[in-house]
């Protein structure tokens, strides 16, 4: 504990006489350190999750729904026309990305901006970047946990990972990093606008990313403009990397492309959200 002792016991405190103030041994503030700042903000975010279940339950239900319906709709068709094709394993990556894309505390951050709590944080010595990074650390944790029930359903359906337990962990890590990367757009909008409705609109990005790609059938089955767009969509490479872990094994070329695609989108979304944070905390 840092304690300050009496400086001048003769001075009467509270006199406003300009004399040195007597400070009794008391608790005094000091910089907490970057890691502690991040852990404190992340802890608050994680505590809020069970109180805000409506933000995390629907994505999992949507993932379950599309996983089951797509298998029912397309399994026979695809496996009948592509020899040795395992549609359940193929579709698992799509289901997981459906479940974790857009899961973030951006909506909570915008509420903080609106009710003034963001200003209370700015009045403390907390590192400004830690306010954002703390939320993001919580996002990664939440996304990782959300992968578990979806993968549980996959295992219940008989899906096997060629890369074993390590592959499952890599799969969860990549999915969570994608969730974090996509969340950057939501945070950028939250900090730029301070408007919850605008944050909701970031969901519009979800559709081109998740559907203009090889979500339902392999890339070589796509044709015309959709094939061209899928070629430019980073999620295509992310899906291929994730699928390779279940279907092929440690396929470094697919994993490398997935990492590169992730990195490109990460640089864009984080560039935007940290620029928005700088603008928000600038003392306008």
């Amino acid at each position: 504990m840092t304690a300050e002792t009496t400086i001048d016991s003769s001075a009467r405190p509270g006199a406003g006489n300009g004399a040195p103030t007597r400070i009794d041994p008391v608790v005094r503030a000091r910089p907490a350190g970057a890691l502690r700042d991040i852990a404190t903000i992340a802890g608050r975010s994680l505590r809020a999750v069970p109180r805000d279940l409506e933000a995390v339950i629907p994505p999992v239900l949507i993932a379950f729904f599309f996983f089951v319906v797509n298998i029912g709709t397309l399994e026979n068709l695809t496996q009948g026309s592509i020899q040795g094709f395992d549609y359940k394993s193929f579709e698992m990556a799509t289901a997981v990305l459906l479940g974790v894309t857009g899961v973030s505390r951006a909506q909570a951050l915008v509420v903080d901006v609106q009710n003034g709590y963001f200003n209370r944080l700015l009045l403390t010595p907390v590192r400004r970047s830690a306010i954002l990074v703390g939320h993001m650390v919580a996002d990664v944790a939440v996304s990782s946990v959300l992968c578990i029930p979806i993968l549980g359903l996959a295992f219940a359906l008989g899906i096997d990972f060629q890369t074993g337990v390590l592959g499952v962990l890599a799969f969860i890590l990549i999915a969570a990093l994608w969730s974090l990367t996509f969340a950057g757009f939501g945070y950028a909008i939250a900090l730029k606008t301070g408007n919850p409705a605008a944050v909701n609109s970031s969901f519009l990005l979800f559709f081109p990313f998740l559907f203009l790609t090889s979500s339902y059938v392999p890339r070589d089955q796509l044709s015309g403009w959709l094939d061209t767009v899928a070629g430019w969509n980073p999620v295509t490479y992310l899906l291929e990397g994730l699928r390779s872990l279940a279907l092929v094994g440690w396929e470094w070329s697919d994993l490398g492309k997935a990492a590169l695609a992730l990195l490109i989108v990460f640089c864009i979304s984080f560039g935007l959200c940290f620029a928005a944070l700088r603008a928000r905390i600038r003392q306008r």
């Binding site: 504990m1 405190p13 009794d24 008391v26 404190t40 709590y117 403390t124 003392q283």
Partner: protein
């Protein structure tokens, strides 16, 4: 290079502090010097620039001109040091409704680098201020306005700041809660020597709490002094006369009347400064009667800070109804 403040420096010092928003000048060349251990009241009506001043001094808003130090640190170049040494309760409570009161205070303590033991110690000390019993374990969203305001103040005090900013700390509080906050402000100042800058619209609050009062109007500091000094500017006693007819004629009628030191007219209200109120009421009433001025009512009272504000700016700080209520 880090500049460390000397304990002889003022707690808050501002020179030509200015803030504009487009064409609007919210704070205009404000000079302020608040000594360590002082309670300083910034008194003014809504829109006078009080909150903007506080936001600049507590590093939420950059000045567009001038400079200032708080706890000896420059608000522009050493904002982090300023933040470590100040506590702030802004006009609007700034709380997270989904946390419990306890969670919020603990989190606040952690952000100021306090250990768990230190946070526990401060929570024990602050419980009497928050005074919401078991509700501290409940979510803040369920609190009443008064409970939220007290928690907001406690959050500003978790780290035992050297300088405390209170922006209209008792607005919206019931009389009991207001008295409790006043007691706490006095205790913090007397026992810990905490410097406190409070903004208020309540005359009584500035009068009761502040060692010195700065009166602000339209972004400028128009007068400064102890409440007694400020009120002494007006005279020993005041006779307030509401009249019908021509105010100029009424003022002329009071010229040379026994005990009358000055007469200010504001519409149909005359503020007559007199040396000895009880001896002057009669002659004033007679002089007005002789001049055939209709007198609706005539009141003798001691000067208030509102009278000072009226003399300096030509407007009341509070409307008459509020004033009457406050002094009833």
């Amino acid at each position: 290079m880090q500049n460390h403040p000397s304990s002889h420096q003022p707690a808050i010092s501002a020179r030509g502090l200015r803030r504009t928003f487009g064409d609007l000048t919210a704070v205009d060349a404000l000079d302020l010097e608040i000594r360590r251990g002082e309670i300083y009241g910034l008194l003014g009506p809504n829109g006078a620039g009080k909150s903007t001043t506080v936001k600049m001094l507590c590093t939420l808003l950059a000045p567009t001109g001038g400079q200032a130090t708080v706890a000896g640190y420059d608000i522009a170049t050493q904002p982090q040091q300023v933040r470590l040494n100040i506590g702030v309760a802004l006009q609007e409570v700034a709380l997270d409704p989904k946390q419990t009161g306890l969670e919020l205070l603990r989190l606040q303590g952690r952000l100021y680098g306090l250990s768990k033991r230190e946070v526990d110690q401060r929570l024990a000390e602050l419980r009497s201020l928050v005074d919401i019993g078991d509700a501290l374990e409940r979510r803040i969203g369920t609190y009443s306005g008064g409970m939220q305001r007290r928690l907001d103040l406690a959050a500003a005090l978790v780290h035992n700041p050297e300088v405390l900013f209170l922006d209209e700390p008792t607005t919206g509080l019931d009389p009991l809660s207001r008295a409790r906050v006043w007691d706490e402000v006095r205790r913090l100042n007397e026992q810990l020597g905490m410097t406190i800058l409070l903004t208020t619209q309540y005359l009584e609050e500035a009068d009761e709490l502040a060692d010195r009062v700065g009166i602000v109007d339209a972004g400028r500091l128009v007068a400064e002094g102890t409440p007694t000094e400020l009120k002494r500017r007006i005279g020993t006693d005041l006779v307030i006369v509401r009249i019908g007819g021509d105010p100029e004629a009424a003022k002329r009628a009071l010229d040379g009347v026994y005990g009358v030191e000055a007469v200010e007219g504001h519409g149909h209200e005359l503020t007559v400064s007199v040396a000895e109120g009880s001896a002057s009421v009669g002659p004033i009433a007679i002089a007005l009667h002789d001049a055939e001025v209709t007198v609706h009512d005539l009141t003798l009272r001691t000067p208030t800070l509102d009278d000072v504000f009226l003399e300096l700016t030509g407007a009341h700080l509070t409307n008459n109804e509020e004033l009457e209520e406050e002094y009833a």
